[in-house]
Amino acid sequence: MTVGEWLEWAKADALKRGLPDLVAPLEGLAQATERLRAADWNDSADHATPVDPGHAESRTLPGAK
């Protein structure tokens, strides 16, 4: 589910449950979710083998100095 699809579903569900005040905050949550999904630590099944941050002493994490 894309963040856009999720947001539309969540807003419709909030309205159905009689919680119209949730609509604006859900848009804020959607922005945070977009940010989280865009982070460079996220894996993709057709890309490099994942790095485990807990055992990354000998490998470079994304963005690490």
């Binding site: 949730l22 940010r35 989280l36 999904r37 630590w41 941050p53 994490l61």
Partner: protein, 447 residues
């Protein structure tokens, strides 16, 4: 009066716990109607415990520096026989059947419990405005927030309603009110102090720790909260500032500061440098993602804990907290897992930032006490949401689990306190306290 002042006098019989406890109860009686720091006051039990402490001390059974000291508990920490409300009408009739582990340890140390302090409902907020038992008020300016979620605990220390207090910190809830109220707040490393018997917000981010009038008082409480086999006697000596290696995590954590906070914190860092500290800039590359990580973790965890009562008694939550909990229920599992992985990335990056250093140094809070009801505050770069500003500088160390402490370092215009934050290595809270003792002394000398 501080714990460090009172303890030796109590030990020698020069001061009676009963008198000290009466003074705290008088402060509560005088100030609580205005500040709303306490939800429950346990006056009779406190006076009984104080008299027993005096009797034991006179009989040669002195237990240590907390013996006979009046202490309060944030009202999400269980105290046997007393209700634990978590600041919510959802739990208004819940009475604890046993002490929390931390309560039990403080009781063993001889602490006298004077009551349970107000908090942001279920610790799910940073201002102590949304409590089922009414909002709390800043002791310097009652039109402003005392911070939160441990707002009542911070007020209690700042006004002498108790000499010690227990708080919890999921995104900054010990350090935020400590900074705002001009006292010390110590968040130990994650898991150092048991959270058993404490109402959770997010078990993977919750930390239990003390708020206090001084770094020494924070240490004395922290030490008593540890398992018996990890407690030590005495107080650590202050580290030498000469050669102390401090890292400034420049960038995100300094980008959106109130002008007074920036001026006072930078001046304090300069004071530490002039006293001999070696100050270098360090990076936390994914700092800009911390708010998103934190939000998804807290939402996922809180949604699970509150699912049943949101269905069965939603009307008993305060409107704002209910709304946020309802929103929390929409977080998808895949995004929660992304946040779990992001948390590990942040922990690794804080470790790397600390590599070769004694501590990180940064503001505890981007702003001074906000007006009650304020949605935004002006900071460098334009207005920003109060909640985001409150959590901005503290949440990194909840995600990473490193110990961190806020100490007073000056005032904004209008006399509102500002806090400096130090963060140390995993498993080295005593070394962090030693650095904080040194910084506290240097700040006092500079003032």
């Amino acid at each position: 009066m501080t714990i460090a002042d009172a303890a030796p006098r109590l030990a020698k019989g020069q001061l009676k716990s009963e008198k000290l406890t009466e003074e705290c109860l008088s402060q509560i009686e005088a100030l609580n109607p205005k500040l709303n720091a306490f939800i429950t006051v346990t006056a009779d039990a406190a006076l009984t415990a104080a008299r027993l402490a005096d009797h034991d001390i006179a009989g040669g059974r002195y237990r240590g520096p907390l013996h006979g000291i009046p202490v309060s508990l944030k009202d999400l920490v269980d105290l046997k026989g007393i209700r634990t409300t978590a600041g919510s009408l959802v739990r208004a009739s819940h009475v604890a059947t046993d002490d929390a582990v931390v309560t039990s340890r403080l009781r063993d140390a001889g602490a006298v419990f004077v009551g349970k302090t107000n908090l942001h409902e279920f610790a799910f907020g940073t201002t102590t405005e949304d409590s089922g038992f009414g909002k709390a008020h800043h002791p310097v300016d009652q039109s402003r927030s005392p911070g939160g979620s441990s707002g009542g605990s911070a007020i209690a220390i700042a006004t002498g309603m108790s000499l010690g207090t227990v708080g919890t910190d999921t995104g900054g809830s010990i350090r935020i009110p400590a900074a705002i109220c001009g006292i010390v707040g110590l968040k130990p490393g994650w898991g150092e102090i048991s959270a058993s018997g404490v109402v959770p917000l997010s078990r993977q981010l919750d930390h239990v720790g003390p708020l206090a009038a001084s770094v020494t008082d924070a240490w004395l409480q922290y030490n008593a909260m540890l398992p018996a086999n990890r407690q030590t006697t005495g107080v650590p000596t202050a580290a030498s500032l000469k050669g102390l290696r401090l890292g400034v995590p420049a960038g995100y954590l300094f980008d959106r500061l109130d002008a007074d906070v920036e001026r006072v914190v930078m001046s304090t860092i300069d004071t530490l440098r002039r006293a001999g500290a070696i100050v270098t800039e360090v990076a936390i590359p994914h700092a800009t993602e911390m708010a998103a990580i934190y939000l998804h973790l807290v939402f996922g965890d809180a949604a699970e804990y509150h699912a049943r009562t949101l269905l069965s008694r939603p009307q008993d939550y305060t409107p704002n907290v209910r709304l946020r909990l309802e929103m929390a229920r929409y977080v998808l599992a895949e995004d929660y897992i992304r946040a779990v992985r992001g948390k590990a990335v942040i922990a690794h990056e804080v470790d790397r930032a600390l590599d070769g250093l004694d501590a990180l140094v940064l503001p505890a809070l981007a702003i001074p006490a906000p007006p009650i009801g304020a949605a935004t505050m002006p900071v460098k770069g334009g207005p920003e949401a109060v909640r985001a500003l409150m959590l901005r500088c503290t949440q990194p160390f909840n995600l990473s689990g490193h110990p961190a402490i806020s100490i007073p370092c000056g005032h904004a215009h209008g006399g509102l306190p500002i806090g400096l934050q130090l963060a140390g290595h995993h498993g080295q809270t005593p070394a962090l306290v030693q650095a904080a003792l040194a910084a506290e002394r240097a700040i006092a000398n500079a003032g």
